[in-house]
Structures are given as structure tokens and as C-alpha cells.
Subunit: 323 residues, 2 copies
């Protein structure tokens, strides 16, 4: 085992931060460190938290950190930022409040973003989870903004998935995608003091009642928790403590019912897909993008100078050993 | 040009049907026929129609066929069936009513399904669109069930995208995904005689009002049309005639504002993605699946006998020329 891995195992924040940054930058050596990290994983309870922008997720994560710390657990937080660090910043800025935990050695907060056009966010998040796991964090909270396919992929890494909703006009239509609802283990109605809270709750209950029993492994029906009055610390803290407790109960449910295995399978399938993409598609697309060939190919398709079938054969012939 | 292509150009239904079936079955010769078909495309107005199960899409498609025929247009219909033809059948059965047009040489209805685990539905639909286009159909209607990523991909082939919604309990939450809403050109509230119709309409208007102007190329704001009383033929026919007219207006809008080009680009990008997947990922996954290696790899990941990083390198080394 390398010194670097030993340092990470001892919880060294600087080494871990540098490794996460190198992985984002695709530094080759960082990948080989991950080969040593991976077999050491499996300690952390990974908790995913998603919902639409404006649902108050950052405030909730901040409060959850406090709640888990009170329960004696160490916490890692991965704030997934789909915007480029060169153009974005608003979302990251919103997370500055979490920095009040910066002095606490039991808390480690990192933002993960991807550089480059090819995605890979889900892989970067997987890497960061593994690193925090090996650092010894009891809970790894992964917060994503939005509810697209990318978020669903990321949530496959989590044992427990929280979907955060808020009451209000148009929210039901705008904020929710069926793909996310299907993977929720716990629903949180945040800002529950607002009008429309009980309507939202009713809609969720209706939706859950329509789902077949097979949607609830070993009988876990996603509970619907309310968090309200973030500006009244005592009330808010209590509801977040209840939430932290429910998160813990979900993990115990998985352990008790031998469901950790099926989570491992789902996670491994996601890792396999990421590996294939990273090993095969990224190098090909990178190669085609570097000399402007990709644009030229699409232009040729538009102008009907080539067809998708010929193109597929050409690409296979050029890049595939078996082609 | 081969005899086969000439027959298809003359509208020969048997030759076209056989080609579509061979493409689904991945017969190699069928791909090479498609190379001759592709450059001849570009005549048809491709109309996508999607929405959740139970939204009455088949009835609507059936009525739209009649409306377009009254307008003097020939019609191809592609009913996309995500279920396997070996296990499913309920959805196809639901489409039997369209068969009343079976005697009309101006109408050609085909179901497209994929066989095998690897997907490729979007490519199969693209193939069928190209074939119907070259057969000379003025309108090609593509009907999909559901609103997942697969449906969004398929809708990229369409000039005009219809999203069909119905009023009623839980529908707003269950039926709609933001990805689909974003690509809608026309909303249809079907079964509009039901309670909740004006609520649904209001929610759609709210949502459209929240979107930035850039969401509406050249100022086309998706109109919201109502279709009601499918059991009162006169009323229903009139609303469907209005819908057919609006579909036609959307196409004219694209032509008038030089937006066909940006549609071509979007379609070509989808075709490129499909080509890459078909040329690269399918052969690799097929090869790994044939000897049970895929399962073994996932098992090794679960048991931490390997890691995603090593796996990626192995796969690249084995399959990629550049690896």
C-alpha cells in the first residue's frame, strides 16, 4: 500500500482533496491510486439527496451534518456541481454555509464537478465516495442538483436516497421526474410551512399507493417527512434529527433484510457502465473531437454525404480490434 | 440502385415490411440496403407523439390518420413497442384498431420492437422512419409509450413533437417528465371532458410562462389543444382536424424560419450517437455476454476482486486498437 493511501486511511484531508482534484483533471497516476483505494471501501453508509433547484437542499445537508455529528458519526459531503467551475459558481456559492463545519475534523466537504464536454460526473462522484469511505467517514452524503438521468445514475451509488420536494405552484410538474421518484427511499417535504404542503403530501401518498408491492423491497414504503421553519432553529433541528434517525433506520432495514447485496449489484453495474464508457467511448470521442472530425461527421450526415450505417462501420474498423 | 430500393420507392408494402423486420433481427444485408435508402430521405414530415400509458394515444393516432387522409396526405405510422415480442403483446393488441386503415394504400402501419437486451430501439425507429420517408409517405407518425430517456431520443427524429396528457388524479406527477416537456411543440389534453382538465391546462400555462424565450425557437410557443368525447364522433373528429392543422402549421413554421437545418443537426447528432453505440458498444457487450464474462466482471466488482479502473484498462486493451 502506498503512503498516499495510508494517509487517506488516516483521514488526511489534504491528500484526499488533492486526489479528488487529480481525478477530476484526469491525471493518470490518480487512477492507479484508486486501484488501491477500491478494495478498502465498504464501511460508509452512502446517502444520496436530490431534488429540484430551490428545494433548500444545501440548508438541509448543513442541518443533517449537525444531526449526524450529534449522533456521534463522522460525515463526508459531496456536493455535485454540474456546472463548469470556469463558468458557474452560483451553486457552489450557495454551499458556502456548509463551511461552518470546516473546523470540525469529523466533517469533510468537497464539491465535485467535471471538466470537459464528455460528462463522467457519475464516475467522479463514485471516486469521491470511495475516497471518503476509506477516510473512515461513517456517513457520505451526496447532494445533486436537478433530477435528470445523470442524477439517477449518481443515486445508484447510494444505499439510501432522499428526494427533497417543496410545496407550491407548478412544483409538482416542474420538479419531479418519475425516474427519481422510483429510486426514492425517503421523501422530504422541505419548507413544509408553505401553502400546498398537504396537497403535495397527498399526491405522494396517491403515487405510492399506485405502485406495486414489488417497488418496496422487504416492505420498506418510503416515509414522507416534513421539515419546516428553517428560521426557527429549534423546530427545524428536531425535524432534521427525525430525518437523520429515519435515514439510519433505512440502513438498518437494508442490513437486516440482506439487501446490501442487491445494492452492491446495482452499484457494480453502474461502475461497469462507467468503466466501459471511460475505457471505450471517451478515448474514441476525444480522438474524433481533437481534429474536428466529429463535427465533420455530423455535417456529412446532415448533408447526406454519408449515412449512419457506413459511419458505424468506419468507426468500428478504425477503433475496434474485433471490427 | 437495387431492385429492393426501387420497390420501396414505389411504395411496396411487402418489401418495406420485410426490410424493417430484417433490421430488427439485425440481418447484415438489411444494413447495406439502408445505405442506399438514407440519401433518398428528406421528404416526410416526421411527427412524434408521446405520453403516458392510458393517455389514449392509439385512438388519437387512429383519428389523426383519418384527418391527414382527408387533407390529402399519405401517412406512415410507427408504433414503438418497448416490450419484447416474445413476452409482451398487450400494447400491440391495443393498436389493432388502427387496422381499419389496413385497406387504404395511403396508410402504412408498422410496430417496431427490439429483440435482445441491448436496446437499439431508437436506431430501429430511425430506420423505419427512413424507409417510410422513401416510400413517399407525407406524414410519418411515431407513437411511443412512456416518457423515459429512450422516448426523448426517439423524439429527436421528429420535426414536430406532440405530448399527450390527460386530466385526473396523480397524472401531473406520474405522467410527465421534464425532458419530454422540454421537447414538446404541441400539447394535447386528451379526454378533456374529464374533471381536472382546466387545472391541467393552467399548470401547463404556468410551466410555459416560466420558461425563457429561448425555449421557443422563432417564437413558437407550444399551443395547448383539447381533444374530447372520443365517443361522440363529430366533436372528436373536429378537434382532431384542428390538431392535424396545427401540426401542419408547426412544420410550416419550421420551414419559414429556416429551422429545418437545426432539426437536421439534432437528428444527425442522434444518428451519430446511435452509430457509435451500434458500432462500438454493442459488439463489445455482445462479446462479453456470450461467454458469461459480463456477469463474471460484475461479480468480481461486487466481491472487490477487481476494481472499475483495472477493468476499464482491461476492456480497452482487449477491444480498442488505440488502447
Amino acid at each position: 500500500m502506498t503512503d498516499k493511501v495510508k494517509k487517506i486511511q488516516s483521514g488526511d484531508v489534504r491528500t484526499a482533496s488533492r486526489l479528488i482534484r487529480h481525478l477530476e483533471d484526469n491525471v493518470h497516476e490518480a487512477r492507479s491510486t484508486m486501484k488501491d483505494i477500491f478494495p478498502l471501501t465498504g464501511h460508509a453508509h452512502v446517502v444520496g439527496l436530490t431534488g429540484s433547484p430551490g428545494a433548500g437542499k444545501s440548508t438541509l445537508v448543513d442541518a443533517l451534518i449537525e444531526a449526524f455529528r450529534k449522533m456521534g458519526k463522522t460525515v463526508g459531503v459531496i456536493a455535485v456541481d454540474p456546472t463548469s467551475p470556469f463558468t458557474g459558481g452560483a451553486i457552489l456559492g450557495d454551499r458556502i454555509r456548509m463551511q461552518r463545519h470546516a473546523e470540525d475534523p469529523g466533517v469533510f466537504v468537497r464539491s465535485v464537478a467535471t471538466r470537459g464536454a464528455l460528462g463522467g460526473l457519475s464516475r467522479a462522484v463514485g471516486d469521491a465516495i470511495h475516497i471518503m469511505d476509506v477516510m473512515g467517514k461513517d456517513i457520505v452524503l451526496v447532494e445533486t442538483v436537478g433530477t435528470g438521468q445523470q442524477e439517477v445514475d449518481i443515486m445508484h451509488y447510494a444505499h439510501t436516497v432522499l428526494v427533497v420536494l417543496i410545496p407550491g405552484m407548478g412544483d409538482d410538474i416542474q420538479a419531479i421526474k418519475a425516474g427519481i421518484l422510483e429510486i426514492a427511499n425517503i421523501f422530504v417535504i422541505n419548507k413544509a410551512e408553505r401553502e400546498g404542503s398537504s396537497k403535495l403530501r397527498k399526491e405522494l401518498i396517491t403515487m405510492l399507493n399506485m405502485a406495486p408491492d414489488s417497488a418496496f423491497p422487504a416492505g420498506w414504503r418510503p416515509p414522507i417527512l416534513k421539515c419546516e421553519n428553517a428560521f426557527q432553529p429549534a423546530t427545524f433541528s428536531q425535524s432534521v434529527m427525525d430525518l437523520a434517525q429515519t435515514i439510519h433506520e433505512h440502513y438498518e432495514h437494508l442490513v437486516k433484510n440482506n439487501l446490501i447485496g442487491s445494492w452492491s449489484n446495482r452499484k457494480a453495474a453502474t461502475e461497469f457502465n462507467e468503466a466501459i464508457r471511460c475505457a471505450i467511448l471517451d478515448p474514441i470521442l476525444n480522438s474524433l473531437m481533437q481534429n474536428g472530425e466529429l463535427d465533420a461527421m455530423i455535417r456529412k450526415l446532415v448533408n447526406k454525404e454519408t449515412d449512419p450505417y457506413t459511419l458505424a462501420e468506419e468507426i468500428a474498423g478504425r477503433f475496434l480490434k474485433m471490427g
